[in-house]
Symmetry: C2
Subunit: 474 residues, 2 copies
């Protein structure tokens, strides 16, 4: 049991996470310095004290690719493979480019199959087959199969390492199987009990095995019936199941209900974080979740953001066209109307963003009750009305005070009041309904909460305000 | 081992999560119907087949509080306590209000201490001491201690149920201790090895105990040194540590490094989701993460959102004041300028939101490198410039085409071009810098990414555009 797999590490680390400014940072500095001096044996010794997750952080922080590659090559294979799957994408690409196919295959072999597949997925497309060709054929085939599953499904996040025992086994036999599997499956979590067709008929948490007597039958102590997930289940649903039932692992089954792998709780943690990031970026109108703020080029950044920004511009140009052709006379009669356009746009935008974000998050967390959808929309509309009315009163009063003595001041204030109420209420409705429609159409609701809804609300707010103002002038 | 604690349930559930339209829904409907008919014994039998997480979902979905309370009272105590800690806050408040202090105390006792403390925290303040008074004094004291820790720290999310063994123990003795503790600690995960001062000197994953021979000393097989977390560590840092090192549990220690509890991976999943929600809501400018879209009153919704909306209005009124007093003549000379105000505001707002969201998420995920902060800001500024220039050219061209033949058309287009470039670049800079400043001041960076930064960018965009327009007119 002293052979933890590289990516499921034991706790051998020198420092309490609880201590203050970490002696780790000092040691890391030493590593860089000694690498510079060519004292490689000392570096190797120092590196041995660190958890791969810490070495990965160090490599991410290093400024010089040359030093990074030298430090990386001083790591023993188990550590190197773990580090490779833990560094940031940019650093990984750089390290991988420096390795031959054979070297890379050697490192990939050390990883659990799910991490191996994830790593291979980041390679330039033409390299995956050549690296797989350097690996033992059985393992290459297993990993190749994993690569065929979409990466955001149960099949894409599962690992094929697990411990299964036949249902007629005794506790002692089960422990024997765990022992034999231990090099491949260091983190067992749960043992899966299977019948001859490889259907999972029960689950054995490790604690059951610890507490049972050796000659008990596993079928007598296992948990039944079993919750399993199909290969094609989306990863967020898989995560939701582990979370809901407080499982540490769940079996993955194929179309014939046969056991093919497992998803463990540490994968779920990553999935939940990934899904949250996706939503956040979608709301903000950024395409990719993988922008590295320090490293990525301006060109890449512009590329990931341009389409949403241009959509905003185009909707804004519709507003410009409408004002230019229809409402310019309204402004000519009363230029002061322009002074209150920004506050109405900004307020409607803010309220619309609130509504859409609440709906998107509720959908993501599974707390939105679609049976009560009418009540949800009605209450959000009422909330928009209440917010619009209070903001309208404040803004109308302010418009009166700021421009006291101006002719037509009352017209201005009334236009501001009504314009604000209508715009904000409409924004709350649009913000609520748009993500729900997207969800019902099987599109990502977070996309509907982003710049699209904001730009749409800008358009709506401006038009409604100017319609009211024009009507009052007439 | 057939006594899973109510909140760390075994897998006894009737259905494959993989199957389609669930027979569960049908059964749930039956439960409601039979409750209506008063066939309580049948309901009890049906309920016994369901996981508490599913019963909680059912109760959340029920429309009639009367039916809900009757179903709840048919549950056996272990299930009832688990259900109570799993239902939505609104439903929990309602069920709790229907229970006497003694009844509630009986249910709280069944829970793990962390869930018990969480439940007591949701009670009306004056009720917590009266419920605690009905509980065994030792347990009441333990839970009272947990309530004293801020709920978003290690002390606030830990449980005091764990298994510890003295470091001179053998594997056999350790297993004996696990067996004795089993009613209290059904999910062991890791055994903590302690010395006489209760310092954690090693960690024993359960698999080590399964694989070792009974007479081995735990000190010989345990993992060392140990990573532990102090009581006051913020919950997101605790989550980060379990995630980084792939731990399933981590010991919590007090100021004297003594073992006082543990945080398990399932708590971490909740923390990560909670922190992501917090960020999302902060970016959207909503105060609370607990708005229930179907149930909460309009008054509560307005309350949670009003302060951010008003802040937007106030900043907007500053813009209105500036335009009214300084730039109204600019509009009087050329009303068409107003037509392009919305598109400039919206674009600057969109780009600013992108920048601030990227920074906030990078801070939350721990991927923002503060050593490279100058490079981060410079690249975001350059990205803003590139986006501003392209949007400016598009908008200027459009302004020319839309208003061809108007006098001063060239002035308008130039003002639009320069105004857009400057506003968007400024928005990217503000969006990047503002969350970083908030973070450095130990305030929540997500708050800086929300309506505040958007409203500020509106102000900036409008003013810059009008300054340019006025300068060109002069």
């Amino acid at each position: 049991m002293q052979h933890p797999a590289p990516d499921t590490p034991s706790r051998d680390r020198p420092e309490q996470a609880s201590s203050g400014p970490s002696p780790r940072d000092v040691a890391l500095e030493n590593i860089v310095m000694m690498t510079g001096l060519g004292r490689y044996d000392d570096v190797r010794q120092l590196l041995a004290d660190f958890h791969p997750a810490d070495v990965a952080e160090l490599l991410d922080q290093l400024d010089e690719p040359g030093v990074r590659q030298r430090v990386f090559r001083l790591l023993p294979p188990e550590a190197a493979s773990a580090v490779l799957s833990l560094v940031s994408p940019a650093v990984r690409d750089e390290l991988v480019a420096d390795l031959s196919d054979r070297e890379l295959a050697g490192l990939v072999e050390e990883l659990d199959t799910d991490d191996a597949a994830d790593l291979l997925e980041t390679l330039p497309e033409e390299r995956t087959p050549t690296v797989l060709a350097e690996m033992p054929s059985e393992l290459a085939e297993e990993i190749g199969d994993l690569l065929d599953h979409p990466s955001d499904t149960a099949g894409g996040i599962m690992q094929t390492e697990y411990v299964s025992v036949p249902q007629y086994a005794t506790v002692e036999q089960a422990i024997g199987l765990i022992r034999r599997a231990h090099d491949d499956v260091p983190e067992v979590h749960d043992v899966f009990v299977v019948n001859v067709e490889r259907h999972v008929t029960g689950i054995l948490p490790l604690s059951y095995l610890v507490l049972a007597s050796p000659d008990e039958a596993v079928a007598d102590i296992m948990d039944r019936p079993v919750i399993s997930v199909p290969l094609e289940m989306p990863q967020d649903e898989v995560a939701r199941i582990l979370q809901k039932y407080d499982f540490v692992s769940v079996p993955v089954v194929d179309g014939q209900e046969r056991l093919v792998g497992r998803v463990t709780i540490d994968d779920v943690v990553d999935v939940i974080e990934e899904e949250a990031s996706k939503d956040i970026y979608a709301i903000a109108g950024v395409e990719s979740e993988s922008i590295n703020l320090a490293h990525d080029s301006v060109l890449k950044r512009v590329g990931e953001r341009f389409s949403w920004v241009v959509m905003t511009v185009l909707l804004g140009l519709v507003v410009a066209l409408v004002i230019s052709k229809v409402f310019v006379a309204t402004f000519e009669k009363m230029a002061l109307l322009a002074a209150f356009l920004p506050v109405i746009i900004a307020t409607a935008g803010a309220v619309g963003l609130q509504s859409s974000t609440l709906v998107v998050r509720a959908i993501a967390l599974g707390t939105l009750s679609f049976q009560r959808i009418v009540s949800v929309i009605a209450r959000e509309a009422a909330t928009g009305l209440a917010l619009g009315a209070s903001c309208g009163l404040i803004t109308a009063a302010a418009s009166y005070l700021i421009n006291m003595g101006t002719p037509d001041i009352l017209n201005l204030s009334v236009a501001v009041l009504i314009g604000m109420v209508i715009s904000v209420t409409a924004a709350a409705c649009v913000g609520t309904v748009q993500p729900i429609i997207f969800y019902k159409l099987n599109r990502d609701p977070a996309v509907a909460a982003g710049p699209l809804v904001t730009a749409f609300n800008d358009l709506l707010g401006t038009t409604l305000y100017l319609v009211v103002a024009t009507a009052i002038q007439a």
